[in-house]
């Protein structure tokens, strides 16, 4: 019988001094950097690895996301990598021996107009062909699945149905990061906080190390995992990336009795919401339109999403907003990640997950570790090259994903 995973371990990781040299240096201890370190050690036996983090471990977007997990993307390339991720999520608590509170409560994407209905059916069919669970709910079935949704025809944008992925859900983001960190640390990976990469050591076209505020560190390979700061880092190595950094905001209410048992998203009215395990409503919507590194956004973005939330869920109208915040997300031209080798030898890049990379954390780490270890991409990330912007082989998930998270 399977042992129950650890509820909350006392010891998470050491805080070692950086060594002068590693086989692999990962830059950025968000979810993706930590998962990469874990799978490097676990799947490939590479443990002479450091994860360098300018702030504290998982204090970037990993600490700021709204934890929606699903795999019902439109295109084959996306369906393949996100579904691999979902399959990993389904066993992650046991694998990492830490209860990450993964809850497959269902992700329901509402539609409010005819084109939305057609688009949802197209996506449901595409998902099924990819072997991903997807079903269409009529407005009455929406109401039965999530009784607090307002399906009144009097709404300005009445609910015309929804696409449901029952295997989708949420997990506790901090625990996910800590669980990967703890296991990676146990296998010998050095997790080094307060260590900012400020430049690269180059020998011709080859990266041989990084410069940091704690001295230079030699590296066989350097793997960037810096989300919103990816272009800042890549430009230090003379590499341009087609990435723009934007604030993405989210908010929580005070703790409430359980009222919402699934994740509901609406792209047209533009809000998505779930209720976290502790009881707070967690909400988000679209990113702020302008480039920014400020980790704050404009208040009207919050106002719009709250208006949408109160229209769809009248019961929320007397809840209070407790906190709002923003993370800096790395937006790529086709809303798909860039994950793999670069023209600079021994420098690899993993970015462009934008507003939706939390759900990809395990798969991203899995394929990135493979690419680092083997020097060539895994089949799942082979389409996600930097070259696709020249060849035109884009993986255009704009709009295709229903909503961006």
């Amino acid at each position: 019988m399977m042992r129950e995973p650890h509820p909350h371990p006392d010891h998470l990781w050491r805080n070692p001094e950086p060594k002068r040299s590693y086989d692999v240096v990962i830059v950025g201890a968000g979810g993706h950097g930590l998962a990469t370190a874990y799978y490097l050690a676990k799947n490939h036996g590479i443990t002479n690895v450091a994860v360098l983090e300018r702030g504290w471990l998982a204090g970037g977007n990993m600490a700021r996301n709204t934890t929606v997990i699903r795999s019902n993307y439109l295109w084959d390339e996306s369906a393949a990598i996100y579904e691999h991720s979902l399959k990993l999520w389904e066993h992650l608590s046991e694998e990492l021996d830490y209860d990450i509170l993964f809850s497959q409560r269902g992700v329901l994407a509402l539609v409010h107009n005819q084109s939305g209905v057609r688009e949802a059916h197209r996506r449901i069919n595409a998902n099924r062909l990819s072997g991903i669970d997807a079903e269409w709910l009529t407005p009455a079935e929406v109401k039965a699945f999530c009784p607090i949704v307002n399906i009144s025809p009097d709404l300005r944008y009445p609910v015309m149905g929804g696409a449901l992925q029952r295997r989708g859900g949420i997990a506790k983001h901090d625990y996910v990061a800590w669980a990967f960190a703890r296991k990676a640390d146990q296998m010998g990976v050095d997790l080094i906080q307060n260590c900012e990469v400020t430049g690269f050591e180059l020998a011709g076209d080859r990266v041989v190390g990084v410069r940091t505020n704690r001295g230079s560190i030699a590296a066989g390979k350097v793997a960037l995992c810096a989300a919103g700061h990816s272009t800042v880092l890549a430009s230090m190595a003379g590499l341009d990336l087609p990435i723009q950094s934007h604030p993405l905001q989210a908010l929580v209410s005070e703790l409430l009795e359980p009222v919402l048992h699934c994740v509901v998203m609406s792209n047209a009215v533009h809000v998505y919401v779930s209720q976290a395990h502790k009881g707070e409503l967690v909400m988000g919507s679209g990113m702020d339109p302008y480039n920014s590194y400020a980790q704050r956004g404009s208040p009207h973005v919050i106002e719009f999403q709250l208006a949408a939330a109160c229209e769809l869920f009248p019961i929320f109208s007397r809840a209070h907003v407790l906190r709002t915040w923003a993370g800096i997300v790395d937006i790529s031209p086709d809303a798909s990640p860039i994950l793999g080798l670069t023209p600079i030898e021994n420098l690899l890049v993993n970015c462009g997950w934008g507003t939706g990379g939390f759900k990809a954390t395990p798969a991203s780490g899995w394929v990135y570790a493979y690419t680092i270890a083997r020097g060539e991409p895994h089949a799942l990330n082979a389409p996600y090259t930097l070259e696709r912007f020249s060849t035109g082989a884009l993986i255009d998930e704009h709009g295709a994903a229903g909503v961006a998270h």
Binding site: H229, T231, V232, D240, L241, P242, I243, Q244, S245, P289, Y290, N291, S292, Y293, A294, S298, H300, P333, F389, S390, T391, G392
Partner: protein, 80 residues
């Protein structure tokens, strides 16, 4: 965030639509441009942590386009 429209003065940012980084030149000899230079023109934009020259249009106002230089960390705007 208040954005200074050169014609209407400072207004809330939700009156404006963002046009992204400015000063993106169309390839001077488009027939001769190869895939890599088209890729640069279409997909690659400046993304500095610091001062960025960018375009805005005052869509809920005078509907005119203009450039500003905004610091992407402080959001402080200086005229272009």
């Amino acid at each position: 965030m208040l954005i200074p429209c050169p014609w209407c003065g400072e207004r809330e940012d939700n009156e404006f639509t963002y046009g992204g980084p400015a000063q993106v030149a169309y390839p001077s000899d488009p027939e001769a441009a190869d895939d890599a230079s088209w890729a640069r023109y279409v997909f690659f934009r400046a993304n500095p942590k610091g001062k960025l020259a960018e375009r805005w249009v005052h869509s809920a106002g005078c509907r005119r386009w203009f450039n500003v230089v905004r610091d992407t960390v402080t959001h402080q705007i200086t005229p272009a």
